[in-house]
């Protein structure tokens, strides 16, 4: 189980507060960036339509909508920093049994999310902030993979 220090929790909530959640989080840019930077991840999203170029992907309405859906699901779960495995248990079962998604994608997406946060927060993304966020997203990825069988 991942344990977050008081400093790490403060770094996570502090950065989350500073970054305009409606703008950066609401846009859920990371999912679409994942599809651009690692094109093989598109294999799960045949129904999205045109993903043929970076601009097509970034403008794709289904990709945008899906990103927001992932963000909404995660937001509730992230409120439970002390027990990520339980918080993401149902989502983990879904990704294994219904979506058949390779857990490696959770790690890749987590990394892209950190870069999006760094883009928005600039020099406020200090090494300690960066570390706290990587730890959180790594914990989420592990929790999402926990129920795989």
């Amino acid at each position: 189980m991942v344990h977050f220090t008081a400093e790490e929790k403060a770094a996570i909530t502090g950065l989350w507060g500073k970054v305009n959640v409606e703008e950066a989080g609401g846009e859920a840019l990371a999912g679409r960036k994942l599809l651009v930077i690692y094109p093989w991840t598109q294999r799960f999203f045949d129904s999205f339509g045109n993903l043929s170029s970076a601009s097509a992907i970034m403008g794709n309405p289904k990709a945008k909508a899906h990103g927001k859906e992932v963000l909404t699901s995660s937001r509730e779960a992230i409120k439970n920093l002390n027990n990520l495995k339980d918080a993401f248990a149902k989502l983990s079962e879904l990704h294994c049994d219904k979506l058949h998604m390779d857990p490696e994608n959770f790690r890749l997406l987590g990394d892209v999310i950190v870069i999006v946060l760094a883009t928005h927060s600039g020099r406020e993304c200090t090494p300690d902030m960066h570390a706290a966020w990587q730890k959180l997203l790594s914990g989420v990825a592990t929790a999402l993979a926990h129920k795989y069988h």
Partner: protein
């Protein structure tokens, strides 16, 4: 294989780093050691708590090598061959560590360039640095 557009993105971003290899390199190493403490095992020669002088010095060397790779991005095998030998015979850094360096590199670029760091630049640099890592580890066995 890098497309013409990818090469342009890589060169464009490098222009912003050129001349500042030491400070970018030091920040890269500081993030690496803070976010992924296990990587410190490969830098014992910098001591338990590497100071700013050491980070700047070693960081500069690493970023200068990246600069050479940018200059010769169509011929990485030849130009990185001595470094590939070094990594295979002396350093023997486990290949799983290179993606960690690349992630920290991306965060350095993103936190400095912010809105100017487009997804196309990010993709090009990810592809380029992954290519560098492949060359650095290709003589491992």
């Amino acid at each position: 294989m890098l497309s013409a557009q990818e090469r342009a993105h890589i060169a464009q971003v490098w222009d912003l780093i050129a001349g500042h290899e030491a400070s970018f390199g030091a920040e890269l190493l500081l993030r690496l050691f803070t976010v992924y403490p296990s990587t410190k095992v490969y830098f014992r020669h910098l001591g338990d708590q590497p100071d700013e002088v050491q980070l700047l010095s070693h960081g500069q060397r690493m970023l200068q090598a990246v600069g050479v790779a940018v200059q010769y991005m169509d011929n990485l095998h030849a130009v990185l061959s001595p470094l590939a030998d070094l990594h295979a015979q002396v350093l023997r850094v486990d290949p799983t560590n290179f993606p960690l360096v690349i992630q920290c590199f991306q965060v350095v670029l993103a936190s400095h360039l912010q809105g100017e760091y487009t997804v196309e630049m990010q993709a090009a640099w990810d592809k380029f640095l992954t290519g560098v890592a492949v060359v650095l580890t290709e003589k491992y066995r």
